[in-house]
Symmetry: D2
Subunit: 343 residues, 4 copies
């Protein structure tokens, strides 16, 4: 019985279109460190996709680097990054934001469905001793979208949080490790989800959705962009053969591929969720992207594992299922059949 991969979208492979683009770029010599034609062209591609001529896009090599280095350029060392208490930057990046941020701190706030709320922000602002150097000064609101729990910020919520942040002088960062999945879930444009919603800098994840080794910082704030050039180099994030990162990102954004692939992942998840619900399964929170947290007994989890389903146990009585662009309808059908047999 062949295993079915539901552990992580990171476990998926690389889309053939990405490999083809890499091969196509492997012709002749090209200046290193972004001095090549592909890197230059990526700016135009990103500007078009995000409908914003004044952005700067910086290819980087991992999502942790994208988040932490972007935040270090947005937050002074004595500042605080406000985020949900379950944010990826807070729980799963080994303190990268505090290291690159020169000791900037992260402050986790509560919020239903793993989403920040304006009320949480306002409470945090109210409890801040503004201008008092004893107290880390809130400087950035960071939103993970979709969250690590598969929920998605509606546009209205984003706009409200951004307004709330900007009124208080904070910048807004979006951790878009799975940005395409949010776009597909909301059915909105990249512009609507980012700068039009008040986002100043977005981390554009690509590796979880078909790309091999490339993520990016998309920066809508010129002041922040100026320092990123220096910060990224000394952080070891400027690939010498950067054309191969640039071309991966271009191929990803071109022809709507990122959305196509995210749709495959999201659709697979929706089919899975419908099927599981039909079998009586319950979820920690309603899945809105490509991730579900299902309540199962330990015995059931053991049986599912024995049945060849690959997943993580994330808390007592809870397993996480993740679909990717490579998850097929057959994978979902087969998963549902095996699940049924395990009940």
């Amino acid at each position: 019985m062949s295993p079915i991969e539901l552990r992580s979208d990171n476990a998926a492979g690389v889309a053939p279109e990405i490999l083809q683009a890499i091969e196509a770029a492997n012709s002749g010599s090209a200046l290193a460190y972004g001095g090549d034609a592909w890197s230059v062209r990526l700016q135009a591609v990103a500007a078009e996709v995000f409908e914003q001529a004044d952005l700067t896009v910086f290819p980087v090599l991992t999502g942790t680097a994208a988040n932490a280095i972007a935040l270090s350029a947005m937050c002074p060392p004595w500042g605080a990054v406000l985020c949900h208490e379950t944010a990826h930057i807070l729980r799963s990046e080994g303190g990268a934001t505090s290291m690159f941020g020169g000791g900037a701190v992260m402050r986790g706030l509560p919020g239903n469905n793993f989403l920040l709320e304006a009320a949480s922000l306002e409470a945090a602002f109210a409890s801040t001793r503004w201008g008092d150097p004893h107290h880390s000064q809130p400087a950035v609101v960071s939103l993970t979208n979709p969250t690590d729990f598969g929920t998605v910020y509606p546009l209205a919520r984003l706009a409200e949080l951004s307004r709330c942040a900007h009124e208080q002088g904070l910048l807004v960062h979006m951790d878009g490790a799975r940005l395409a999945n949010a776009l597909v879930s909301l059915g909105c444009s990249p512009a609507a989800l980012t700068w039009q919603a008040g986002v100043d800098v977005v981390t554009l994840g690509a590796t979880k959705n078909g790309v091999m080794t490339a993520d990016a910082i998309v920066c809508f704030n010129a002041e922040v962009a100026k320092t990123l050039t220096y910060r990224l180099k000394r952080a070891g994030q400027v690939a010498s053969k950067m054309r191969f990162q640039a071309v991966q990102l271009q191929a990803y954004l071109n022809q709507g591929r990122w959305l196509t692939w995210a749709s495959q992942a999201n659709n697979a998840m929706q089919a899975l969720v419908r099927g599981l619900q039909a079998q009586g399964a319950t979820f920690v929170v309603t899945p809105q992207a490509n991730m579900a947290f299902v309540r199962v007994t330990d015995d059931m989890a053991d049986r599912l594992q024995a049945a060849g389903l690959l997943f993580y146990r994330t808390a007592p009585g809870v397993i996480r299922l993740v679909t990717s662009f490579q998850t097929t309808p057959v994978d979902i059908e087969e998963t549902l059949v095996r699940w049924q047999q395990c009940l």
Copy 2:
């Protein structure tokens, strides 16, 4: 109507005995940076007071430096310092621990009466992905004693927390900005409150209790002590005329002065609390050292202020009162009289 100082023990002056000691040390020349006889003698004084020959005492210039630099020597940059969610290091030191710690993070945990609990520690340990570099690794438990809310850890609780920490491989730090107030409150020896209770490093506050410009790190762990010499110098915490810090600390520890002064502060607080209770006042938590948080209406707070009482409003409906070694019985009587008149 003369004001009565209840804002902070930091607002108090310097004890005459400290000034006399400074003057006495101001005779002749002496090697800088701790190469003087007073600094050498301080080791012996501390060893005797803490009944521990193997300690190392490092004079420093502020409590923030003492805490943050001690923690940087106890916690790797990828580690986490576990502390109560209201800890001074987390809320009132501007992120110093993360800066000196190279990006180490602080993780605030809940606990009744502003005290950490073994259950909180165990829950934190259980939710830690040990050995997983995505996850900041708990490396130190930091306890503020007394807490910033005037509560004190009983010895049994300390021993329990230390055992819990050590079993998991963590070190134990005590923020003793008001250590003498805890000693007096508990009626125990410095040894009992620190290394005998499993504390590896204690920040010995002195400035809040009669000293002018000197605090100290008292280190019971030889490995940690080795790196502090380097860390303190480059942090700008090694006074060139260190004899004047050393002699302040000696005068403070000698003849039980630190305990005498802390007793004055604690006794004044006890008298104040008894008097306020007699007038029907209620407290956020039972005061155990030299600090009380009293519930008052905004109007009452205004009247108290108008009556010349100096205090801080720390939350809606709550004021903080702090006594120091300079608070006199007359101050307390007068405070109670004015309070009565404001009711």
Copy 3:
């Protein structure tokens, strides 16, 4: 007249064998962050190639990251990294070593032919105030091999420098951004050039020699290796789809490909040097790997440029020529012809 690429080996493309290996690894799902079979296998490949079972190899994404993060694990924040005053880490990594090192400093030392000398090290040691925290404590000797000026450390020199460093308690780091070029130049084994010569940690460059996006830290010191796992993750250097880094490095090391490719680059340089010498050219230093610094007048440089040679002007009257694994005998012949015509 088609341009001839002599600017940098970074400007070269990717070897077909590397792309084939990537494609071969793109089959099925695989755990992220190094939990895949390719990453596991890489350990065995490296152990065999370096004839050392006790090494640990960490794939990283850039040479700057490899150097700076390795050094941060070898040098305490209050330490100094001793290197040649022209070292890449000192002049071309934007201060990465000081950032990742928590404020560790680099100390540039003189040395003929861009190579460190034991006498320079000994002079540095003699001028160090050991144990004095006012003075950054030398903790690591870092050697670039080949140097950024195309010279190579002979084995005897390496052994002497390592002995000198170790006797004083320092560790030895080798920046092997072009390690294969040194190996080919010296005709020695990887073991002989590294741990047998006293090197504790070597940065294994691959990107300049046919690989797309992968370098590595090869660590022969178990204490250092332990902390690298944490340091690399929080530095954003742990690729989520790490199998694609691991497989690039395997393909690079397997079947002696790294040496074959470096031989192509070195041989091309030797042919170029012989040809230029025959035309009367002089060099800043005798080229020993794949790089030459040629003395030319500004007019000559202009003519060479007009003739389609691509190179950098690195100092007044000096141009740098670099060959790569893609430089062909025809490229060299053609270069020599054009050079002759420009005289």
Copy 4:
């Protein structure tokens, strides 16, 4: 035979006027962390002494903190601080500037008489790859005045260096650990030596010249000043009872005491130098402040030590003599007598 202190001005005691000022400030309670009347008044005193209403003065606790934290506010983490290769910040502060600076680097430049030269600056600028993130970007010129070798920058030199720095977009920092000694040596006003000469931020040393525990950052640049408030707190440099630092600095600056005391030190040195020259002694460089480096044989140094002179041997064949505000004419006479006897 009583010893004569010539090791360091740090070894001197505290001037009685300073102690009296401390005692005078020890009356009643006062808000902590600079919220007291003395700290407020210090601004006015400094503004008057430096003839500049727009300065901000920050009391700190050590000279290392003053330098390193000021520089961290002047230099981005990817920047370089240019200084003389013998600068105190480079050789004697344990890398503090790189730590507080988030990995900023120091670049030592040559210059006769231990003084930076415009030609050195220009050579450094010429060798900088401006805007290239591989290369640490020069952002500050730091001048030690007097130098650690007892030489003093003439006003014309300062103006030239500042112009050179500013034209290139760099800020100018002056390490004035012994600023009063430079003022006395040059016979100029504090304004002339600092902001009128283009200095943006000066470290005002006081501890080496009669004060107990207080130095200061005097900041003429409003942008820099804004961040220092935060940087100093989290660095543990904001004394809780700051009134006692403020009052020391006031007493120091008031009534020209700092100049009187520096005159005593400088005059003592001049008398010593004249006397030694009369005995045939030679100096490494002509002493211009309160410090001399005398060439003596090892035997002679042994005899001088046996004769009760306290000094440091700073290099083979060289001893350092330092006078302070406490060095008396009798000390100098007696030193010369003993020296004569040792010849």
